[in-house]
């Protein structure tokens, strides 16, 4: 039938276009990854070469330098880069903060989607409205706020501000709204308490929303440099997060010679989140597919 052939053509066209697009998207990253293994002189001598131009331009020096400085030597306090501490801190903030927020936000989203309380839609619109306000107004006051709560220079100061975020509640509520109301009604009529409905009906069906927000939250916490600098920039080096620590390393290496080191640090910043993403995305796809909600 012509429509099957039409479908095949469509799929082939899609395949080719997608391949081209993906190559373009990944080009800079691949260049960066190869560049992190390339002797820095190679950049200036053979700049048109995408990969290290010859075998001996290949070097692990960038990484060696990065990891060589995880020991504290009093006379070289400048070069103390406790990368493993940074990794650990980043993981705690990203995972812990995200989990905490997921719990709080999904509870709130449930309330907005299924609990019919006074003004619930007006409050929700209010929340959406607050999203339009540039976050930058709150940066300095937030710093003072954290200081008052004693969270200055501590990991807590990295986790707490995110807990007031609106985007997650918005996102999860949109997904929850897609769950058919009759399921909820039935459960209510069966005498289930709200808690029970939440855990047994809504959560399983709205799983994909949680995974999506979980991923977004993890990413936000992992990649943040600006807020990290304000809150833990003055704390001892062991308290830093990976993103901030790597920025300090690259600030220390300004010349062209340090291209390799800088690219190596960029790659180190990218690996963990890539791993998390690859794990999470299969779960997300599962979740989205299993929802298959009919409108």
């Amino acid at each position: 039938m012509s429509s099957t052939r039409g479908k095949k053509i469509t799929k082939t066209v899609a395949f080719i276009t997608l391949t081209i697009v993906c190559i373009l998207m990944l080009l800079p990253i691949v260049w960066g990854v190869f560049g992190s293994f390339r002797r820095s002189g190679d950049f200036t001598s053979y700049p048109a070469s995408f990969f290290p131009s010859k075998w001996d331009a290949f070097t692990l020096d960038g990484y060696r330098e990065l990891f060589s400085k995880t020991e504290y030597i009093p006379t070289h306090s400048n070069e103390y880069f406790p990368i493993w501490n940074w990794l650990f801190n980043s993981l705690i903030v990203a995972i812990g903060g995200t989990l905490l927020y997921l719990i709080i936000a999904s509870f709130a989203a449930y309330a907005f989607a299924f609990l019919d309380f006074k003004y619930h839609d007006k409050i929700f619109y209010f929340l959406i409205g607050t999203m339009t306000i540039p976050g930058i107004i709150s940066t300095t006051p937030q710093l003072i706020n954290m200081n008052m709560l004693g969270a200055y220079k501590s990991i807590l100061g990295l986790i707490l501000p995110g807990l007031g975020g609106v985007y997650g509640v918005f996102l999860i509520k949109q997904f929850f709204s897609n769950i058919p109301k009759d399921l909820i009604e039935n459960a209510r009529m069966d005498g289930a308490s709200n808690m029970r409905i939440f855990f047994n009906v809504v959560l399983p069906l709205g799983k994909s929303a949680l995974f999506v927000q979980g991923l977004f939250g993890f990413m936000g916490a992992w990649n943040d440099v600006q807020w990290a600098q304000l809150i833990i920039g003055n704390a001892p080096r062991t308290t830093w997060t990976l993103a901030y620590g790597l920025k300090v390393i690259s600030d220390n290496s300004e010349s062209y010679e340090a291209t390799t080191l800088v690219l190596a640090s960029a790659v180190i910043a990218m690996i963990p989140i890539l791993i998390v993403f690859l794990i999470a995305q299969s779960k997300i796809i599962e979740g989205v597919a299993s929802t298959g909600i009919k409108r």
Partner: protein
């Protein structure tokens, strides 16, 4: 004249009160934690930020030292350099938004449609397209800076061209736009993919039976089916780009051309200096927020109109009356 106590009424009222109590407890448990966090970590700094907009600073400390009413606002509207710099940057930001928001939605939409054809390896493509956006901006920006370097960058040397990607103003805006799209479309892409998955397949079959061609199917089945995702994406993307900062800072902070500054960039600049400028920065932030809110309300209205507008109903009524 004793009040007639109707037993049923009494029981009902008591039940109602208990229900309200129980409901109140439910709401408090579910909404409570978030409400507290929201109040402490969002509302409070925001209100304080507004207080700052009405305060004066002496440069010695981060705390306000005087109350100046609308003086800060007067300055950002009338002071020659401040007004010029700020409002130029606002206009630049709006122009940039208008260019990049459509691209930020259409490109992911196109890609999502392609992926939705479920061609070979579509799952891999889906992951690959999303990947650039998961990395910290500082890392990807760093790679772009080196790759598009004027003298030794790969792009200039491989293609034998000589474009100062970060010196020439137009080239820099192009790079900023490219950076935003490269690392930004991932999010919208995923959401639109999810939306496309959820469009009822039977509607497509119905359209086929009706003899619709591909374009009609797209217009009348697909687009309406992902309306709420489209709206979510439009709304958040717009707000995101009105607050453009990171990408611009990483790529263009060395270039002193004044047209390479967004509104948030100007504000952040002030905040990193002496605290004397905090009042102006806060006032600027509020103005920017108001402008964004106006645009957002317009978007909300359009969406509401499409969802629950009475246009169709009125037309139907009119048609019925005439028949």
């Amino acid at each position: 004249m004793a009040k007639q106590i109707n037993l049923l009424d009494y029981a009902n009222k008591k039940e109602a009160r208990r229900n309200t109590a129980r409901k109140g407890l439910s709401v408090a448990t579910f909404l409570g934690p978030y409400a507290i966090c929201f109040a402490m970590f969002f509302v409070f700094p925001l209100l304080f930020g507004i207080v700052i907009a009405f305060s004066g600073f002496d440069g010695r400390t981060m705390f306000p030292t005087s109350f100046v009413g609308f003086e800060n606002f007067r300055v950002i509207f009338t002071n020659k350099v401040v007004a010029r710099d700020f409002w130029n940057s606002v206009w630049t930001t709006i122009k940039f938004c208008l260019c990049i928001v459509p691209l930020s939605i259409l490109i992911p939409l196109g890609l999502a449609l392609l992926v939705n054809t479920k061609c070979i390896g579509y799952k891999v493509f889906r992951a690959l397209i999303y990947i650039p956006s998961i990395f910290p901006l500082t890392a990807t920006g760093l790679i772009l800076l080196r790759m598009f370097g004027y003298q030794y960058g790969w792009v200039n040397n491989f293609f034998n061209i000589s474009v100062d990607w970060f010196g020439n103003v137009y080239a820099t805006w192009f790079m900023v736009g490219f950076f935003c799209l490269w690392c930004g479309i991932g999010g919208n892409f995923i959401i639109l993919c999810a939306g496309l998955e959820n469009v009822d397949k039977t509607l497509y079959e119905a359209a086929d039976i009706d003899g619709c061609n591909k374009w009609k199917k797209f217009l009348f089945v697909t687009l309406p089916g992902i309306k709420s995702q489209l709206f979510l994406v439009l709304f958040t993307t717009f707000i995101g780009y009105m607050n453009l900062y990171g990408q611009l800072f990483i790529l263009a902070s060395d270039n002193s051309d004044p047209s390479l500054r967004s509104a948030v960039y100007r504000i952040q600049n002030i905040l990193t200096g002496s605290s004397r400028g905090y009042g102006f920065a806060a006032a600027m932030g509020i103005m920017l927020g108001l402008i964004t809110i106006v645009f957002s309300i317009i978007q909300l209205q359009i969406d509401k109109e499409r969802k629950a507008g009475t246009k169709r109903k009125d037309e139907f009524d009119a048609w019925q009356k005439n028949n």
